[in-house]
Symmetry: C2
Subunit: 344 residues, 2 copies
């Protein structure tokens, strides 16, 4: 039997895989690489500067977040149209392109699976409601919209070779993520101040007013510092000096890729018990789930009780590219079976 032909539709805000920030592109890229490794015939629809073992199909040269000369709306329409115009060349389309790709899905016969990386706003829900009978994958059990035709929850998987296990950590607290109130940078700062530990903050500034008002005033270059966005090497350097990763999200987390990356390196995580964190972090085994700043400070003392190897082990078992791709293979098989039945 010839290899099944699959189109993976990545977002184009950033290169796939991203140089620094870009969780959706990271996951789309990991799936493409994992499928190639397992013998699928994969075409990755992504930016022209993407790096992949799959066949790359690109009509937009660079990510619109990386090249301001690109009009995001124009790029999106060109990029998404392209995969559907080539739909007959594929047995399946796997979309990571949010509600926009759904609006094309009924115009082709090729079935499409959509991984919902998060509902960015209640205003996009009408699109999901219209196309509720599509095939959907949630990235955590907690981030589901009732009424959608979910095939499975598939946790995001990371390339474990990028985040080698570090037997020993350091003494600093680390925040890694978008500088945005949703991610609770201000809460991480409070924890640092109350515990007397150093805090290193890394990530892109998505909300600059928030950064100016609630982050910058606390930066002193010693106790609390901001080092900008970091690439994989930069993350590993951070993990090397990390006592724990602080992830005190103020809204329900959808998945939390950075929790997995930290755990992979052996770094315990202190996360807010909101959304998917409880699915990603195993309480008292790979970190602690807390309800607020006070509890986070108290948990810091218990960090040495966490076995760093247990953190790594859990990622290997649950959040590797291989685990993820095997689960997606089951999703694809389910979808293709259901489609075949429709034709009977």
């Amino acid at each position: 039997m010839p290899a099944k032909r699959i189109a993976v539709l990545s977002p184009i805000a950033w290169r796939t895989p991203p140089r620094q920030y870009g969780a959706w592109e990271t996951v789309a890229g990991n799936i493409a690489e994992g499928l190639v490794a397992r013998g699928w015939d994969v075409t990755l629809f992504a930016t022209g500067d993407s790096v992949t073992a799959a066949r790359l199909h690109a009509v937009v040269e660079r990510g619109y977040e990386e090249d301001r000369s690109i009009d995001p709306k124009v790029a999106e329409y060109l990029h998404i149209a392209e995969v559907f115009e080539h739909a007959t060349e594929f047995d399946l389309i796997h979309s990571h392109y949010d509600f926009m790709a759904l609006a094309y899905s009924r115009l082709v016969k090729t079935p499409m699976v959509t991984t919902i990386h998060g509902f960015s706003s209640p205003r996009i829900l009408p699109v999901y409601r219209k196309y509720h009978d599509g095939y959907f994958v949630s990235i955590s059990n907690s981030d589901r919209l009732p009424g959608l035709n979910y095939v499975a929850t598939v946790y995001n998987g990371i390339d474990l070779s990028l985040y080698p296990f570090q037997h020993r950590g350091g003494e600093d607290l680390v925040f890694l993520g978008r500088i945005h109130p949703d991610k609770g940078v201000h809460l991480a700062i409070e924890v640092a101040q109350l515990s007397g530990r150093r805090l290193v903050i890394a990530g892109i500034i998505q909300d600059s007013a928030y950064f100016e008002e609630q982050v910058k005033p606390h930066l002193d270059g010693a106790g609390i510092s901001y080092i900008g966005p970091v690439d994989v090497a930069g993350k590993n350097e951070l993990f090397a000096r990390a006592y724990a990763l602080l992830h005190l999200n103020t809204i329900p987390e959808r998945f939390g890729l950075v929790l997995v990356e930290a755990n992979a390196a052996g770094v315990p995580v202190i996360a807010m018990d909101a959304g998917s964190c409880r699915e990603v972090i195993r309480e008292q085994v790979t970190g602690f789930l807390v309800g607020g700043v006070g509890e986070a400070v108290r948990c810091l003392e218990r960090v040495p009780q966490i076995e760093r190897s247990a953190c790594r082990q859990r990622v290997e078992q649950c959040f590797s590219v291989d685990t993820m791709v095997q689960q997606y293979e089951r999703v694809y098989a389910t979808v293709l079976e259901r489609e075949a039945k429709k034709l009977e």
Copy 2:
């Protein structure tokens, strides 16, 4: 032979027809009404609160410029997808939805004609270049992109009954249009100041910094006044007191619907000689084409030489809904013939 079934895809920034501003929706609506009157089976894809003699197909209740709770991007995807999902029900789709509808056009067999109401930015041109072999209509000979498969230029037509001929005008200068530097409101103000005539400015404020800096300081409630956006009745009141309409656009005009509306009422127009103005205004017959403020001031003395009835007559001949719709019927016939030949 049964009536041909046509889908008219209107924009959804405003209701069709718009309550006040909204040139694209006005034209789309006029075409739908005109086609119905001529026996076509017309489905108008527009906002739910639109008013039409055609069959209305709506998935977005109100224009996104009129209801800020609507996400324009979400509304656009839902609205545009809808017409293509119903494509088999139509012999032809007539799109007024800019580059976005083009990105769906190759996914259906129904031919689509796109009226290009203007190229809003060079950044949208890649979409037109990709779909250059579609069927295009320009709204003036001057607003064309080389390399596109143009079928014709069809001038916009207005419903003449909305703008009754007024035998006599008044003494004021009138500016009607978006408050935006492109429309040269500041130049109209200069003309008023130099000529000592009153100026009434009407239209939506699209560029509020421009309004604050270059319009508001000159408003004195007497000589130069701003009355906000106006509906059809408001336009007719303005035309009743108009000595001339000033339209000193600073970039090439694409068509200039307001020039036609003023002329229909018998109002002479002083327009910048840029873009389509030379196609709409007949020099010394329905107004004057000028190169700048000085020339505009000098032309004011010659306004009484313009016969108001000649202004009306030209609109009746060239810019009526009927003329426009007859020309579009020829466009549709051409497109359907070419499509039939493709199938031979």
